[in-house]
Assembly symmetry: C2
Homo-oligomer: 124 residues x 2
């Protein structure tokens, strides 16, 4: 059964704590990883929490990449949600792990929008 | 084992197609649902695709709510990612389904950030 979207849920552990609290670094990292897997970056929105931690989303033409960081635990939760057949979200795993210097990486990939009607006529 | 985050993945089917293509309606809907479950809205970012479909994210102090819509299939994928113990993302399911007039709703809730270290000292 065809799916409208692919949704990768990525757990990055034992990351570099300073990078996880550097909003401009994360903004650049997510956008550059998005481009590297062939996505089209539309806009982004990031927020720095006090005393630490960052939430951010890059909206791409193919859906989104989001991140939430807990520098105090050297942990980041990253989601890569894509639609269409061209982009494979799993291609983002290694570059994201490298950007955050994660020593432990795990992920699952889910299908979203499993419809009985064919998505072949989808407008995007 | 304690988790840093709760992540609800919501599939809304047989929604009102016009609502799924109304960006201002969706922006208001997601923000009001976020407030109704006790979340603190920080900012949002929405994008209208051509010929149809909307992607949007509301960043909340507790993480995020995102939506991707396919009006042509009357389908929306919504994610509610929260941290902390106060907010229960499942409380957002019925109000979100109501807002989009979904006739079919299904969801799963996952734990994110299952760490061996206790999150009791987390800064947020």
């Amino acid at each position: 059964m065809a799916a409208l979207g692919k949704h990768l849920l990525l757990e990055l552990k034992d990351c570099d704590a300073e990078l996880l609290n550097n909003m401009e670094y994360l903004r650049e990292a997510l956008s550059s990883v998005a481009l590297s897997i062939g996505a089209t970056v539309i806009k982004d929105s990031f927020y720095q929490f006090s005393p630490q931690g960052i939430s951010g989303v890059v909206i791409i033409a193919e859906s989104h990449i989001s991140i939430h960081t807990w520098p105090e635990f050297c942990y980041a939760a990253v989601d890569v949600f894509t639609c269409g057949e061209v982009i494979q979200p799993a291609m983002a795993v290694k570059p994201l792990a490298d950007k955050l210097k994660a020593k432990s990486t795990s992920y699952i990939e889910l299908k979203r929008g499993l419809l009985t009607e064919s998505p072949a006529t989808a407008g995007r």
